[in-house]
Symmetry: C2
Subunit: 187 residues, 2 copies
DNA sequence: TTGCCGGGCTAATAGCGTTAGCTTTTGAGC
DNA sequence: GCTCAAAAGCTAACGCTATTAGCCCGGCAA
């Protein structure tokens, strides 16, 4: 019979991501990944140290995915236009892949495996705020405010926390404008 | 021998909250709750329908707890002072009880059991914005922006997502000021 | 006193992550 | 092309989880 191609860590993570997208975080189980990759559950341990490590790998993929999207969005833009585009791209990503976003680590810098991917994503956010003349800690604070708005809104929206979805676009536009006004207002 | 007092749903939830505070969400297991209440695991089902329902009850408690704290904070204040106090109380609560906050439902209005508690908490936020002359949907948007800032910052901070904790107070102050400026800026 | 029923119990099941140990397959060196 | 070691699969098993079924005791009502 046809020999199936050997399994790799990357393929395991692929399967995990599919499962995550389709059925949510609770469905991301080693048994399910094994079934999808056509292998017995314990065999996965040849490619992944534990469920926790698999989750960490998934987190890295999500961070990379976001970095790619946001980089493409911001490229060729600057100033208010870039910031607004970034914020809208952030929200759009979470709407398209809610489970994926929920699986993204909030503190990637504290994990050996995720540190590099986290750093790159942060750099995109940081770079988008270039051109506002922010120096030193002011740039750090501004990046944090950006994250607070993007993550705050997206996480509440994606969990249905806003009650009725009515007027959510307006709410987000107001947040974007608030942030831009704030950026311009303080040196 | 001394008859131990009978178990009630409230006591089960009490034990669950203790466990949550002390050891985090993953430690909130029926076995652990049973051990703490001095009962066999299946006996819990006489007071709680499932682990999911227990979690929902815990969520209600957290919402009520927050409502109480925030109400006390806002009472006797108004305008910018009230809003700033509320935002700082929000952050303080999450810092004091990170696991508890993480167990709070983000969409309480969509759950029969949690709806009332969620409504009350929202009313406190809503009422705090009284006096800014916001009418109709403008008040809704403003409340949403408030939530985005409070939840966004608190959830990132409590999961260590800001990297170094340096200057976090300043970042938060800037967010508070940004929100207040925004409130005053638009009618 | 009788009987009911609420709230405890034990036993059992299915599913999970994980480990141990065996077998098969693969690929590199002679 | 053969050999042999390492990589990668497998089955069996363990302990933990939530959950269900069924029994039993003790208090309260008729």
């Amino acid at each position: 019979m046809a020999v199936r191609p050997r399994l790799t860590t990357a393929k395991v993570v692929d399967a995990a991501l599919e499962l995550l997208d389709e059925q949510g975080a609770d469905a991301l189980t080693l048994a399910a990944v094994a079934a999808r990759t056509g292998v017995a559950t314990p065999s996965l341990y040849k490619h992944v140290a534990s469920l926790g490590e698999l989750r960490a790998h998934v987190g890295v993929r999500v961070l990379e995915d976001m970095t790619e999207r946001f980089t493409a969005t911001v490229l060729g833009r600057s100033g208010d236009e870039a910031v607004a585009a970034l914020l809208h791209a952030y929200r759009a990503y979470v709407r398209e892949h809610p489970h994926r976003y929920a699986a993204a680590p909030m503190d990637p810098l504290h994990d050996e495996l995720q540190q590099a991917a986290g750093q790159k994503l942060m750099e995109v956010l940081f770079a988008t705020l270039r051109g506002y003349g922010l120096e030193g800690s002011a740039a750090v604070h501004a990046t944090r405010r950006l994250r607070v708005i993007a993550h705050g809104f997206a996480s509440i929206e994606s969990s249905g926390g806003f009650g009725l979805p009515e007027g959510l676009d307006d709410t987000y536009d107001q947040l974007v404008r608030m942030f831009l006004d704030d950026l311009r207002g303080k040196s």
